[in-house]
């Protein structure tokens, strides 16, 4: 830290380039260009060099130029490899946390005491969904532990209410929530929370489910959050049109749209063996009325993944994305499990061509220029 402060002092004394900048440059990390960024392979090596030891490895202008070239090459090569497929049709393996619908991260944390004191009582919160619409319900589960292991979760009080950070806070009455356990002494309790049945039917926004708990004599709180849409802005009709286009299989999902806007629709695709291989995304504006969300199973992705048809589109989720506001979305009822099964196709109908677009060309042009400039800078050194 002392060295950093020294740099700062020097920097302030220079109107152009601080004398310390050379040290910073020499100390800066260097990524390894040779590492590929594919999900199935390890990514770039860490490049960070501790500033305190930077001077010891003799990092000079040549080493810095080499590191810059490595980064430029990594940026170019990584982009080229990743953009073989379009942004809307990615390998499912590239979405580790989105393999299934409604993914919500589990949280383990201390029991929150009002006096902020920490004890060894801990809670693990799990919920099967964060976003709900209409009559949907979320399954909420609390598991309790101490340093001795699982401990009884005693729910002293639980209710659902609009969080204080929302303008509607206090305008809707809190609703009691009943958690049940599997028997006396159980270390976990659960509930099914359906906002529409608890008086939130006309409310759009977050709902906090607060619990007062007692764990092994310690009393404190925990909180779940869900985000509720009372009435969907559109409805997936279930109808799908499939069309082979330029060596890809495009699925057109029919929607009855009440509110026009930017709709995000996502789904997973399994091959004939039931193995998931693709994650599709539609993210474009839709007008009101009968509309279609286009989602293409990219030909090269089918071939590279050796996926055999018929394909099954499953676990479809959708929402209306709203800009500059909160909540930022109105949920469309999706469908868990199979949504649509395609026809069977010969592998020969799929194209091995990479994704081409102005966006990709623009980036490749720039990243290629950067590599060339970095090569030139390195070659120019004595």
């Amino acid at each position: 830290m002392g060295l950093l402060l020294f740099w700062q002092r020097d920097r302030l004394s220079s109107p152009r380039r601080a004398p310390s900048e050379d040290e910073l440059l020499a100390a800066a990390p260097a990524r390894a260009a040779g590492d590929t960024p594919a999900r199935s392979q390890d990514g770039p090596k860490p490049r960070w060099v501790d500033p305190k030891t930077a001077g010891e490895d003799g990092a000079g202008a040549r080493e810095l130029a080499e590191k810059r070239l490595e980064r430029a090459r990594h940026t170019l090569e990584g982009y080229l490899q990743a953009t073989r497929y379009p942004p809307g049709a990615r390998p499912l393996s590239e979405k580790p946390d989105l393999q299934k619908a409604h993914s919500v991260a589990k949280s383990t944390q201390p029991l929150a005491r009002s006096d902020k004191k920490l004890t060894d009582a801990r809670v693990t919160l799990e919920q099967d969904r964060l976003y709900l619409v209409g009559d949907e319900a979320a399954r909420l589960e609390v598991s309790c532990t101490t340093s001795e292991g699982p401990a009884r979760c005693e729910v002293l009080h639980a209710d659902a209410r609009v969080p204080e950070t929302m303008p509607q806070a206090g305008k809707l009455p809190a609703a009691p929530v009943v958690f049940t356990d599997e028997g006396a002494g159980s270390s976990s309790v659960t509930t099914l929370f359906a906002p529409a049945k608890e008086g939130f039917g006309g409310y759009h926004g977050p709902i906090a489910v607060n619990l007062d708990l007692r764990i092994d004599g310690e009393q404190g709180g925990a909180r779940f959050d869900v985000v509720y849409t009372p009435a969907p802005p559109a409805r997936l009709t279930g109808d799908v049109r499939e069309v082979l286009e330029d060596g890809s299989l495009c699925l057109y999902l029919r929607l009855a749209v009440d509110k026009p806007g930017r709709y995000v629709v996502v789904g997973r695709v399994d091959d004939a063996d039931g193995d998931g291989f693709a994650y599709l995304e539609h993210n474009d504006p839709l007008s009101a009325g009968a509309q279609e969300a286009k989602m293409c199973i990219f030909g090269k992705l089918v071939l590279d993944e050796q996926a055999k048809s018929p394909f099954v589109l499953r676990d479809v989720e959708a929402y209306l994305l709203k800009e500059d506001t909160y909540p930022d979305r109105e949920l469309v009822p999706g469908r868990d499990g199979p949504f649509y099964t395609t026809k069977a196709y010969a592998q020969s109908v799929f194209s091995d061509a990479e994704w081409q677009s102005e966006e990709r060309d623009r980036h490749v042009k720039e990243f290629t220029k950067d590599v060339k400039e970095a090569e030139g800078a390195l070659e120019a050194l004595p």
Partner: protein
């Protein structure tokens, strides 16, 4: 595909691109997106106000710009500030390097995941007082971003938000809950741009709350870009779920990082905390060094 075959496969395209002369008017910018800020507010829309970070005279990458927002509202409510900056400086012939701190990680991630494929008006890089720029003519898909450096990213949320540990409770705090933040956007959808994660570990005050190694505000599960919550630590640390690996590979217990996220700095010496401290300090110091070295 091996690297050799990868290079062979793309050589024609790369070679063709080399034949195109660079635009003489092209300019690179370094955009700095700050995190949660309950102290003195930054001047939103003013790209020269670096008060969140430290002295504005400090080098921090080529043509540095401070992307300021209110630091306390929901990510979605303030994300237009980030999109305004990206439109200003990262369209047309101009290109950007991004540096983000803490909740700034969520701001850039949210923008790229939700709007990275949207049609953007090409701007003239001359901002008005509200942070928007004039049209230069034409549109393009998404933004011209080369890569993103992240200092103690809060894109995975913080257990401190989960338990209401912060004295000031703002709307952003609700977004920063781990379940909420991780469900806010597709963290893997970066338009194939790399997020280089700098993860600090100089934290002791909240070690009973934050899972695994932390920098006093966020744990390694978030700052390391891990796709699940959990306690991840430095090598040799006991009582953790696993070791946070450098690079983009899984943690030692097999938990994947978000795609296009790579740990550049794991703070094995536990020397970097979360805070800029008005002096480009903490985990921001190595990110600044990296920007100076590589954002050219």
């Amino acid at each position: 595909m091996s690297r050799a075959s990868l290079l062979l496969a793309f050589t024609p395209l790369a070679a063709a691109a080399l034949l195109v002369a660079p635009d003489a008017s092209a300019t690179n910018f370094s955009l700095w997106i700050h995190g949660r800020n309950t102290g003195t507010a930054t001047k939103a829309g003013n790209y020269t106000d670096f008060s969140y970070w430290g002295s504005s005279g400090t080098s921090a990458g080529v043509n540095k710009k401070a992307v300021n927002w209110d630091g306390k509202s929901r990510i979605s409510e303030q994300n237009y500030r980030i999109r305004d900056a990206l439109d200003c400086y990262c369209t047309g012939s101009n290109w950007c390097y991004i540096a983000a701190h803490s909740a700034g990680d969520a701001q850039i991630g949210y923008a790229m995941a939700h709007f990275g494929g949207s049609s953007r008006s090409i701007k003239n890089a001359t901002p008005a007082s509200n942070g928007t720029c004039g049209n230069a003519g034409g549109t393009q898909t998404g933004w011209n971003i080369k890569w993103v450096n992240v200092a103690s990213g809060a894109g995975g949320g913080s257990e401190l938000a989960n338990i209401g540990a912060w004295a000031v409770s703002d709307a952003l705090t609700d977004d920063l809950k781990t379940a909420t933040m991780r469900g806010l956007y597709d963290h893997n959808q970066t338009r194939s741009k790399w997020f280089y994660m700098f993860a600090g570990a100089k934290g002791t005050l909240y070690s009973g709350t934050l899972a695994g190694q932390d920098d006093e505000a966020v744990g390694y599960h978030s700052t390391g870009g891990v796709s699940v919550t959990g306690g991840f630590c430095n090598p040799g640390d006991l009582l953790c779920d696993g070791t946070l690996t450098t690079g983009s590979g899984t943690t030692s217990n097999g938990k994947a990082k978000w795609s296009f996220h790579s740990v550049d700095l794991r703070d094995d010496a536990e020397q970097y905390n979360h805070y800029a401290n008005g002096a480009w300090a903490g985990i921001i110091a190595p990110v600044r060094a990296d920007m100076v070295a590589n954002a050219l």
